[in-house]
């Protein structure tokens, strides 16, 4: 008779617990990040009653980042939008074609924006310090030339052009840059002084996410860089 035959149920469960407890596991993420995501989720739920998870399964998406608008000057919602969450510094909107636009009015609350994007099914790492997360740079497609050269398969539409070269206010009639073969018409022209970046969620298969970095430059919001990110980068 084996000694284990006489193990009580409690002994077996204790042995299982001891063994599993010895296994290394990841330390807890930053609680502020968790709370930012929760806050974004709560905010969106309040704004769109009954919509709590449908965004996460949209077939394709893009995000638009608009900058330089005063905090009190909110972007008009795109005509085709389905759901929207608004905060003072930025706006996240899902468009009718499944794309998601994000309007940033100020470089504030990157964790909140990150949480809002994640809540909408776009794993994201957002920094407003201008530096991409080094942990993401080895990821396929995780690096882009500097200065940025959109559009790319990930970054489908950019407003205004030339992207990242001139302050948005320098061109009185800025236009859109679009990825080759991008069939959708550009969204409505944003208000003057805004930058819009459109990212295709269909370019994010599997666990891939995006990392977004922006910084102030000479008094205006500089180029917003958007590249692929690994789950380790986005904590998603």
């Amino acid at each position: 008779m084996n000694a284990n035959d006489s193990m009580s149920d409690t002994d077996v469960l204790n042995a299982a617990r001891d063994s599993l407890s010895g296994m290394p596991v990841a330390s807890a993420p930053d609680v502020e990040m968790i709370m930012a995501r929760g806050r974004a989720r709560r905010h969106r739920r309040r704004l769109v009653p009954g919509v709590t998870g449908t965004l996460a399964v949209a077939a394709g998406a893009a995000l638009a980042v608009a900058t330089l608008a005063p905090a009190s000057h909110r972007a008009a919602p795109p005509a085709g939008r389905q759901h929207a969450a608004h905060l003072a510094a930025w706006t996240v909107t899902e468009l009718a074609d499944g794309n998601i636009s994000v309007t940033i009015r100020e470089l504030k609350d990157p964790a909140g924006l990150q949480g809002a994007l994640r809540a909408d099914g776009v794993p994201a790492s957002v920094t407003f310090a201008g530096q991409l997360n080094p942990a993401c740079r080895s990821y396929p497609g995780g690096t882009i030339p500097w200065p940025p050269q959109p559009p790319t398969p990930l970054l489908r539409q950019v407003f205004p052009k030339p992207y990242g070269v001139l302050p948005p206010s320098a061109d009185p009639s800025p236009g859109w840059s679009q990825a080759p073969g991008h069939g959708s018409p550009p969204p409505a022209t944003p208000a003057p002084g805004r930058t819009v970046i459109v990212i295709a969620r269909s370019a994010l298969p599997g666990h891939a996410g995006v990392q977004i970095a922006a910084t102030h430059s000479a008094g205006w919001i500089g180029p917003v860089r958007v590249v692929y990110a690994s789950p380790q980068c986005t904590s998603s």
Binding site: N4, A28, I34, A56, Y139, P205
Partner: protein, 163 residues
């Protein structure tokens, strides 16, 4: 509000590891478990006033994490993997997991793993587990009994062969 934040932060700090281990026991993948538990805590904070008054808040997190995993799978089932990315394949065991125990866990049903995880990591009794899972206490006892029996057999087998 600041009290709620402090309260949640403490709940998160103390609950992360047991919840993660419980979910990991069920799903068998470190990456998946981390994803799902993080998402569950996000939802817990989004509904904190409800969760804080829940009779077993950690069990709420574990159930939500496992449900989030199901959603995750439904979502990803329509997508193609990114070539060359560095993910742990879904279902891969976490590093360091005891091999014999893993073998035993693999042979359990998800429900059996869940019952065992709730018992050993959240220290929930049969009645609480039953309420959490929406099943009868007798069903919990059955899952627990069968799961424990399978684990015992594996431990016995390991000792027999390991000397």
């Amino acid at each position: 509000m600041s009290n709620e934040r402090a309260e949640f932060a403490d709940f998160f700090r103390t609950g992360w590891e047991p919840c993660l281990r419980a979910v990991l026991t069920v799903v068998g993948s470190q990456q998946l478990a981390e994803d799902q538990v993080a998402e569950a805590f996000v939802r817990a904070w989004a509904s904190w006033r409800k969760v804080r008054s829940h009779p077993a808040p950690r069990a709420w997190v574990v159930r939500t994490a496992l449900n989030a995993g199901a959603s995750w799978w439904r979502q990803r089932s329509r997508e193609l993997p990114l070539a060359g990315h560095d993910l742990t394949a879904p279902g891969d065991p976490g590093e360091g997991l005891d091999a014999s125990l893993l073998a035993a866990l693999r042979h359990l049903s998800p429900r059996q793993r869940e019952v065992i995880a709730l018992r050993i990591f959240l220290d929930l009794d049969t009645d609480v587990i039953a309420r959490q899972l929406g099943i009868e206490a007798g069903t919990v006892r059955m899952h627990l009994s069968r799961g424990v029996a399978a684990l015992r057999r594996e431990l016995t087998s390991t000792n027999d062969h390991g000397g």
